[in-house]
């Protein structure tokens, strides 16, 4: 396999959480760094609260858009159980960054299935490196829950094969037309996301 020079990032969550947009911004950053990029998701009925996974691959030349299980360098999980669902995609030394939101679907409310106890704990028990944090609380503390996605992007920023500023520049570009105030709020959210992970992770970025 020619996976050596390819970075595989898997972003997962549920429909409506902003998984696809976050991955789009990550893709833009990789393009800005001169990489070939492919991004794919299966989200046919995702806006009905279903599972969304977005695969992002970048490097010198990307062939297949699909990530194989066991090959993900960084998993960015927008929801606990969803991060667990896709955790087998992680490389043995891969890193999972998980927003500890718990979004319970109607099939669980109806008592047909159980929500897993401590999803990130299960991932750790399986040997994965996991950092979990509450992106929504961080965003709320910054005054706007909509900043949650930028917190998520901040969380992954130090674990990409390029400088965090490249990603930040792409976020700023997205929000530029909304004015300086919105841009500043996103800068703060990005910084807060970076800090939330750095605080927990003693090991330096890969």
């Amino acid at each position: 396999m020619s996976a050596n020079d390819i970075t595989n990032i898997l972003v997962c969550g549920i429909g409506g959480q902003g998984v696809m947009t976050a991955t789009e911004i990550l893709a833009e950053a990789a393009i800005a760094e001169g990489h070939d990029v492919k991004k794919t998701e299966v989200a046919g009925m995702a806006q009905r609260g279903g599972v969304v996974t977005s695969h992002l691959r970048f490097g010198r030349k990307v062939l297949s858009p699909q990530i194989e299980p066991g090959t993900v360098q960084v998993l960015l999980g927008f929801e606990g159980a969803e991060a667990l669902r896709w955790s087998h995609y992680l490389k043995p030394d891969g890193l999972a960054l998980v927003n500890n939101a718990k979004l319970v679907p109607p099939v669980v409310e109806l008592g047909l299935f159980d929500y897993p106890e401590d999803p990130t704990g299960q991932m750790r028990a399986a040997g994965h490196r996991v950092v979990s944090f509450d992106a929504m609380s961080i965003a709320r503390d910054l005054g706007e829950v909509r900043l949650g996605n930028t917190v998520m992007l901040g969380a992954i920023a130090d674990y990409l094969p390029f400088a965090p500023d490249v990603l930040l520049a792409c976020i700023v570009k997205r929000f530029a037309r909304k004015g300086e105030q919105v841009v500043d709020a996103n800068r703060r959210a990005f910084a807060a996301g970076r800090e939330a992970v750095a605080r927990q992770l003693a090991t330096p970025p890969a």
Binding site: P65, G70, E109
Partner: protein
Amino acid sequence: MAAVMSQVAPPPAASRLLLSGNEAVARAVWESGVRVAAAYPGTPATEIIESLARYPDLHAEWSVNEKVSMEVALGASMTGARAFCAMKHVGLNVASDCLMTMTITGAYGGLVIAVADDVGMSSSQNEQDSRFWGRFAHIPVLEPADSQEAYEMAKFAFGLSEQYETPVLLRLTTRICHVKGLVCVGEREAHEPAGFIKNPQRWVMVPAHAKVRIPGLFQRDETLRGVSESSPLNILEAGSDRSVGFVTSGPAYMHVKEAFPNAPVLKLGLSYPWPPEKVRALAAMCDKLLVVEETEKILETEIKAAGISCHGKDVLPSMGELSPQVLSPAVDRLLGKPVPPPTPAAAPPKVFPRPPTLCASCPHMGMYYTLSQIKNIIVTGDIGCYTLGAGHPWNALDTTICMGATMGVALGMDKGRGAVDKNKRILAVIGDSTFMHMGMQGLLDITYNHGNVTVLLLDNNTTGMTGGQATPASGKDIHGKEAPKVDLFKIVEALGVPNERIKVVDPYELPVLFKTVRDEIKIEGPSVIIARRPCVLIEDFKPFRPYLVEEDKCTGCGNCIEVGCPAIHVTRREKVIKPSGREVELAFVNIDNQACTGCGLCVQPCAPDAIQHVPRRDIPIHIVKTSSTS
């Protein structure tokens, strides 16, 4: 929101853009000077026309169904204009009546049909291989492997169509349509239509004329086979490891290259007619030949029929997507190598399923909750968001087949049932967009043939499942501009349903809805209940004041959970023994008032009045979701 596609200045030529396959095709269609582009929304092809509608200087439209979209494209081609239509795989079934004769008339202005196969069935009722249509209709098939190729092949297709006067099939799959990759784009070239030339021998397909033209189809196949042999779209890559050579096309090519970078590969871009000499050349240079195709055994069968020994579906699956992970063990098997067992780490963790569900405040919930409360009914269903009514907690649909089938299936059940089903009432559910796509004819059949069916027309004023596209009943065209708004009531009446048997109800008003359904199913003969409320994901929907659960009043009866709203959550469960001695599990709930938009459906079955409006001062700022996927 997908509903409004206003035109914007397209990015300039030579830009390198991150485009999905759908967006890349749209760009190519625009650059090719196409004047008319038509489609009915369908995953995974929807975004092609959505993107095209943003480009200037062409007519883009939502057609009422795929057959009409193809006819519109054909008509434009007859005038010499370049024309395009797009559809999902099942849409081509609908359009095939047009296709099978338009292949005889042939194209005048370049005519390209993009068909998107939902390989892996992310959002479809079946899996089909549209490459068969190339054989059936004697038209060339192009298969891009990524966005850049989708762009290039779409541009190539118009020239091919004009040169050989043939419609061209551009076969996409979900993994082309929805994968984004970098595409280098170019300029638009104008194509002024040459003008319609009256020629009954060509355009009026009666037996005498068709008989003269049909031999031309076989001739065209042979000519295009020659084109295929010399086409740079069909590349033979020599490789260095000659143990297995691959014949492949579409996204499967990328998987082959990923898994076997050093193998000889014949990549078929113009995959029908395929080039036998190139396949023979590949076979001669490797020990074994493996045909890697998603999904059916088409090339493999034809290659074998040409006398070339090969492998394919003896080691590969005939359904679902291929991937390097699927290919590697298959090749091991082919080479007689031991297949390594999957590592425990690669096993997916066990997590509950998260099926798609209806949105908070979805008007369909009112209907399905009502149906779940009525006994002795058979409910035929159809294609759309409302197919989700077959799921929990409603379990309210008994059939789903294809667009519009609810009508005919319901009538057939009515006519075919014996004593065992005699006392059951038959209801047919259909959405507004599906009704106009293919349901109207079925309703006509019900009224004409004295059917005893109660039709539930769920009118949410949009094509919901594909992301909220306009319909003839929404009063807007693809650009969001005003269009004649057809009156569904009048259509239903014109199709033969007596005026007094057409009821318009609000699906949020459960008691009225329940009574109306109960009353109508008791009366013999056809009736239609139009349940009217806008989809919560379109502009017409205005959220109401959200609700909360007053904890001290909640008795844990769980009635509200049966409504099926994703904003209702169980906070704790408790087992109690009723006075009758029966053990029941109580489920105490709360409402996520960020998600609740105040439809009030859950309030109505709540016996202790525990569900109340959120006090005005506590109303959160509502962010109505506008993301659309399709």
